[in-house]
Structure formats: structure tokens, C-alpha cells
């Protein structure tokens, strides 16, 4: 019973930020973390880790990848969880989409916090 309660609490503190057909990024308020779900895999990120992972994905030059003689895959390291991932071009495209959508949501959320929530709290306290 108490276990169930704990679980429902965790789930309620989670919010899906953006979703594509095989992937999603969720924010967990309770842990202060982000969770990337991709092909049955779940990887946790702190904010700065998420930002640096996004940078890695954005930096992948797809036209170069397509033009080269080497296989159309890219190896991406995630040092924070000590793992290496091999992504196909489709997967990279999907991740690029996923991050664009996620960060648009995060920016919007930050804007709401800045303009409405934090400013509102300041006004109230004055």
C-alpha cells in the first residue's frame, strides 16, 4: 500500500515534455531530473547533461554522414552514465526532433516561471 502511494507520487511528479514515435523526454520534479526513453531504454539526465547531450546530437552533420563511404551510423557517448550509443540516421533525425520539441517546451516553462510565477511571488511578498 505504502509502496503504491510512493509510486503514484513519483508518477504524478513526472511530466512528458515531448514525444516522437519511438522516443520521449520526461521531466521528474521530485528527482530534479530528465528521463529520455528511447527504444526500451531509459536514461536519466541532470539539466547540464541533457544540454550537452542535445549539443552532441545537434552537431551531427547528416549530409556528411550520408555522403561518406562509411556506414550511416553515428556513435555518441554519454559519459554521465558511462555508455556508448550507436544511432542510425533515422534515429538521429528523431532525436533532433525530440530535442527541438523538448527545449521549446522547457523554454516556454521557464518563461512562465519567470513572467508569471516568480514575478507573481515577488509582487505578493511586497
Amino acid at each position: 500500500m505504502s509502496e503504491n502511494l510512493a509510486e503514484s507520487h513519483t508518477i504524478s511528479s513526472r511530466e512528458v515534455l515531448f514525444q516522437t514515435s519511438n522516443a520521449s523526454i520526461t521531466q521528474c520534479d521530485a528527482q530534479g531530473k530528465y528521463i529520455l526513453s528511447f527504444n526500451q531504454d531509459q536514461i536519466e539526465f541532470r539539466a547540464c547533461e541533457l544540454i550537452s547531450f542535445r549539443r552532441k546530437i545537434q552537431k551531427i552533420d547528416l549530409t556528411k554522414l550520408l555522403a561518406s563511404d562509411t556506414p550511416d551510423i553515428e556513435i555518441v557517448s554519454m559519459p554521465h552514465c558511462d555508455r556508448l550509443f550507436v544511432f542510425t540516421i533515422q534515429e538521429i533525425l528523431e532525436l533532433k526532433d525530440l530535442f527541438a520539441g523538448t527545449f521549446a517546451m522547457l523554454e516556454l516553462n521557464s518563461l512562465i516561471h519567470k513572467e508569471i510565477i516568480r514575478k507573481g511571488a515577488l509582487i505578493k511578498s511586497n
Binding site: 521531466q27 520534479d29 530534479g32 539539466a47 550537452s52 516553462n109
Partner: protein
């Protein structure tokens, strides 16, 4: 939904990337000055060598200052790889000319960074950079004075002796 991204990260990505580039520039400067110090040392220009060893340490200090700033702001600072720097110079004068050239490009890079911070509305970073803007005024002043010594004394053996004598006492007085 909490604003985790704001509570865990302060700086914008573009700023982080640009400061990481600056870390590399400072590290390269430090390495370039070390090479100059070595060049002077083996040729018996002991005070010039001392001057460049000190410059090299200062640049390393700048590198760390930027590095700590990123780390303090919860951003990932990159320890840079350093490209090849010049080890061969035609004369002592050309060493100082190179040093001045280097300081000018560092100044330009710092100013670019200030402009970026301004464009992004990053007031904290702009404020943090103030120290570097001031520092560059000083660094350029000293480097320029060094080159001027050669113009005053010429490039002869005697002149080099004079420079050796004066190089360690050049200081910027802050415009007073």
C-alpha cells in the same frame, strides 16, 4: 511543473560554448608565452624569460578563472587541447611583436564575448567579463611598451641589455 532547467543551469548554451572557446584561447596563450620564455632563457635573456614565464602563469590564471566560472554556473567546462604554438623566432624583437599581436587578438576575443553577453541579455556574464576587459587594457599596454623599448633603443646588443634591465619594471598605472 518545476523550472528545473533554470534552477540547475544559469548560462545559455551559446555563452557556454563561447566561454569554452575562450578557455582554449587563454590556454593557447599560456602555452605560446611558455615557448617564448624558453626561447629567451636559452639565449641568456634571463629577465625577458622571467617576464614570459610570468605571462604564461597569468594566462593560465585567466583560463582557470573562466573554467571556474562555468563550473560555478553548473555548466560543463572543457579542458582544452592546445594547438601547436610558435617556438622559433628570428629575434628578441619579433618575440615581443608576436606577444603584442597575441594580446590584441585576445582583447578582440574578450570584446566579442562581451557583445555576445549583451546580445543575450546575460548581465551576470557581462559583469564577470568586466575584469577581463580591464586586464586586457593592462596586458596590451605592457606588450606595447615592450615593443616600444626596441624602437627607442634599436635592435643592437646594447639595446637588448637595456631591455633586459627594464623589462621587469614595466607596469600599467591604471591611467593615473
Amino acid at each position: 511543473m518545476k523550472d528545473i532547467i533554470r534552477s540547475q543551469s544559469v548560462l545559455k548554451e551559446e555563452i557556454i560554448e563561447r566561454i569554452n572557446k575562450q578557455i582554449k584561447i587563454e590556454a593557447t596563450s599560456s602555452s605560446a608565452y611558455l615557448a617564448m620564455a624558453g626561447w629567451c632563457d636559452v639565449r641568456g635573456y634571463d629577465n625577458c624569460a622571467k617576464f614570459f614565464f610570468k605571462q604564461s602563469d597569468e594566462e593560465r590564471g585567466h583560463q582557470l578563472k573562466f573554467f571556474h566560472y562555468l563550473a560555478d554556473m553548473e555548466a560543463e567546462a572543457t579542458s582544452p587541447t592546445i594547438d601547436e604554438v610558435e617556438h622559433e623566432f628570428s629575434s628578441l624583437k619579433s618575440v615581443f611583436e608576436k606577444a603584442l599581436e597575441n594580446e590584441i587578438s585576445v582583447t578582440e576575443s574578450i570584446h566579442d564575448l562581451v557583445r555576445l553577453a549583451r546580445k543575450q541579455g546575460d548581465i551576470a556574464t557581462e559583469e564577470f567579463l568586466r575584469w577581463f576587459v580591464q586586464e586586457q587594457i593592462e596586458e596590451e599596454f605592457v606588450a606595447r611598451k615592450c615593443v616600444e623599448l626596441f624602437d627607442v633603443f634599436g635592435n643592437e646588443k646594447l639595446a637588448i641589455g637595456m631591455i633586459e634591465e627594464r623589462i621587469l619594471s614595466i607596469e600599467y598605472d591604471g591611467g593615473e
